[in-house]
């Protein structure tokens, strides 16, 4: 009895010692950085990236902590507000990042602290810039492009070619429908997929960057006939969307395309990886939505997906900067693109994936900002919310294109300074 008690006491003591000494001995002089993300699905890939970094920086250990995508914004904002949070955080682009930067929660970055930033094009850095002070607060990690994805096998079987004019595009839809395919997988139940549809189609009819630049600068409004014309053009796709498309949600769209029920989908570059996972045999081709005449249109909408930034309250700013610098290298960008099948935002990265490479080359030829996200997603009601809900109204025949335009304009005028003149 007494013996066992002694033994227990010894055990407790050793346990205490192990706890007290263990981590200190294990991490002699090592700084641990925490790194928050919303990419729970990328935990293995980030593990690999971090290993490469740690091999070069033996004095730093990075801990990757992902949270649920839809709750991430709230979790991060709450933590930063309370003066805690990670050393490094994945940040949403544009308006999502700006609110945190404006509140002073993030460290401003420039080419002196992060030399890699110098090579990023200005348009990309906009995704991580606070418009109020013009400073950059993050290193962009991915860009996304919006275009038509099509099933190559189906096109080959039916002898179809990539269209060069809008009429050819519609005719393509009619042929596919005749042959029993759903021509376009796009539905309308989840409003945001309508914004993606808009990103693929509308720039080719509102006149690409001319209109986009003018409306962002406040030189024209959304009541511009070019914008209304573009909305009306979107409606011409209705016969080629799935039956009961207003009930078709995002996952339905994905399944229809991946299971080869639908032959085309106007979608973001981020879908490629998902489709290939759902159906390893699928052969995906891409083309931009054509304009009225051959040579018109062909715009690919581009936006920055997000960036990596440093918490202003971090106790290890110097080490965090070293990690951020690593994230801005071509080496990292290449790993990111190959491992995750997503276009890296780092200039000079050439994706190995042929579909991604083609998307990027299309975007290099003719790109335009994904309008509402890049220009109007900063305050409420955001351009995205207005566009998405009002497009649902238009596709349900409750609103005309003119009404949609007027609703968007009056909603944005509530907070968008250039519209308040």
């Amino acid at each position: 009895m007494r013996m066992s008690r002694l033994l227990a006491a010894c055990l407790v003591c050793t346990a205490f010692l192990a706890v007290a000494i263990g981590p200190a001995a294990g991490a002699a002089g090592k700084t641990e950085l925490t790194f928050w993300s919303w990419r729970t699905e990328d935990i293995d890939a980030y593990g690999k990236f971090i290993k490469v970094f740690e091999a070069k920086n033996p004095d730093i250990a990075v801990k990757f902590i992902p949270y649920k995508n839809t709750e991430y914004n709230t979790i991060l904002a709450t933590a930063l507000q309370g003066g805690t949070g990670p050393d490094i955080a994945q940040l949403r682009s544009y308006g999502g990042m700006e609110a945190l930067a404006a509140a002073g929660y993030l460290v401003p970055l420039d080419a002196t602290t992060v030399p890699g930033l110098a090579s990023f094009p200005k348009d990309l850095l906009k995704g991580a810039t606070n418009r109020h002070d013009g400073k950059v607060y993050g290193v962009p990690f991915a860009i996304q492009t919006i275009q038509v994805l099509y099933n190559k096998a189906v096109f080959d079987k039916l002898g179809l070619k990539e269209p060069t004019t809008w009429d050819e595009f519609l005719k393509l839809g009619a042929t596919l429908k005749e042959k029993g395919y759903v021509p376009l997988a796009n539905g309308g139940k989840d409003g945001w997929t309508l914004e993606t549809l808009f990103g693929g189609v509308a720039p080719n009819f509102y006149g690409g960057n001319d209109f986009a630049d003018a409306v962002i600068a406040g030189k024209t409004t959304f009541n511009d006939p070019r914008f209304i014309h573009a909305l009306k053009k979107m409606l011409e796709l209705r016969p080629y969307m799935p039956p009961s498309f207003m009930g078709v949600g995002y996952t339905d769209m994905q399944m229809m395309f991946a299971q080869e029920m639908a032959a085309m989908m106007i979608a973001g570059s981020y879908e490629v990886g998902t489709f290939e996972r759902l159906n390893p045999n699928i052969k995906i081709g891409v083309f931009p939505v054509p304009g009225e005449k051959a040579g018109d249109g062909g715009y690919v909408a581009v936006y920055v997906d997000g960036s990596y930034g440093i918490n202003a309250a971090s106790k290890h700013r110097e080490q965090a900067l070293r990690f951020i610098n690593f994230l801005a290298t071509v080496e990292y960008g290449q790993m990111f693109a190959d491992e995750l099948s997503q276009p890296s935002a780092v200039p000079g990265v050439k994706p190995n994936h042929p579909v991604l490479a083609e998307m990027l080359s299309l975007a290099e030829k003719k790109s335009t900002p994904h309008l509402m996200l890049v220009g109007f997603r900063f305050e409420q009601p955001s351009g995205s919310t207005l566009l998405q809900t009002n497009l649902q109204g238009m596709f349900s025949d409750k609103l005309t294109a003119e009404q949609v335009a007027a609703e968007i304009q009056s909603g944005l005028a509530k907070w968008y300074k250039p519209f308040q003149k």
Binding site: G95, G188, K189, S244, M246, G247, E379, T385, Q388, S396
Partner: protein
């Protein structure tokens, strides 16, 4: 002396755990959102005191006022339809079940079963059933020759909200039925016997004996339904997201509040407006609180009369 003091105060000790939890998780958030609603907010930073500006905005400024009125109408519709279903169909089922018997007991369990499911499960289940491409609802309609009635139930502006209300009723109905049954058991059998001796038909007996005695139960269940339906959120959020999709056809006060306060998670990246959101939350609270007090008062008065 000391002992008496202790004895008098000791009940606090037993109340404390519940009281602390209630204060921390109910009273404090309620008061703080009340406080938030009087301030101007820039994203997550609290700025100056702004009095009733947020309330004025929500109540009188477009597009907020349109959304508020739209959402309120949908809540009223949600409650009215649910109330209608549970006090007709639900009550009918309860009276039938009250006749007893093995088969009916099994039915009673079956009706109550959906109520034990989580709203999220119910939402996903019906999302699958109602899916226009793969769902069973449209397929069954087509199979029995009613294919022309097939539609995108949740994507059509005309059917989206009624569909959700029916899904909610499917889950909820077990609760009122069970409470009605308890109420029916409480009515003394002699009264029914007396009615029968007096030559009352079964409808007359129900109308003049059962219904008046069940009225307080129906009243209480209705108040609970009211509170629940005016705070409706989970099912709609699971099935349609927080943007009131399609085109605000399913927007209720709960989704309007969530979207405004925390940013629209379905559109992504939008920043919440804490002040406006809090104002909506306070208005919701006042509405539900006032209506419930009036409801309880009406029931009490009726009980006294009887």
């Amino acid at each position: 002396m000391l002992e008496r003091l202790f004895r008098r105060r000791v009940y606090w000790l037993f109340l404390a755990p519940a009281l602390i939890v209630y204060t921390v998780f109910m009273v404090y958030p309620l008061l703080s959102s009340f406080g938030y609603s009087f301030f101007q907010w820039d994203g997550y930073i609290r700025e100056g005191f702004s009095g009733l500006t947020n309330y004025a905005k929500v109540l009188f400024e477009r597009p907020y006022s349109d959304r508020l009125v739209g959402a309120l109408k949908h809540n009223v519709m949600f409650f009215t339809l649910t109330f209608a279903i549970q006090t007709t169909f639900g009550l009918f089922l309860a009276v039938m079940l009250n006749r007893g018997g093995k088969f009916l007991r099994a039915c009673q369990v079956a009706y109550f079963a959906p109520y034990t499911l989580s709203l999220v499960v119910v939402g996903f289940l019906w999302l699958l059933l109602l899916n226009p491409t793969w769902g069973q609802v449209n397929k069954i309609l087509a199979a029995i020759g009613l294919g022309r009635f097939a539609r995108p139930w949740l994507g059509d502006m005309a059917t989206a909200l009624p569909t959700i209300i029916l899904v909610n009723a499917w889950r909820w109905l077990g609760f009122p039925i069970t409470v009605y049954l308890a109420g029916l058991h409480g009515i003394p059998e002699e009264l029914h016997e007396a009615a029968r001796v007096d030559g009352a038909t079964s409808w007359q007996a129900f109308r003049n004996v059962t219904l008046p005695l069940l009225a307080p139960t129906i009243g209480m269940v209705s108040i609970l339904t009211f509170i629940y339906d005016f705070n409706a959120f989970e099912l709609i959020f699971v099935m349609q997201g927080s943007s009131g999709s399609p085109f605000y056809a399913t927007d209720v006060l709960g989704t309007f509040f969530y979207r405004t306060a925390f940013g629209d998670s379905t559109t992504g990246g939008e920043v919440g407006q804490v002040g406006l959101g809090s104002a909506i939350a306070v208005l919701m609270f006042l509405l539900v609180c006032a209506a419930s007090i009036v409801g309880v008062w009406l029931i009490r008065r009726r009980e006294v009369e009887m």
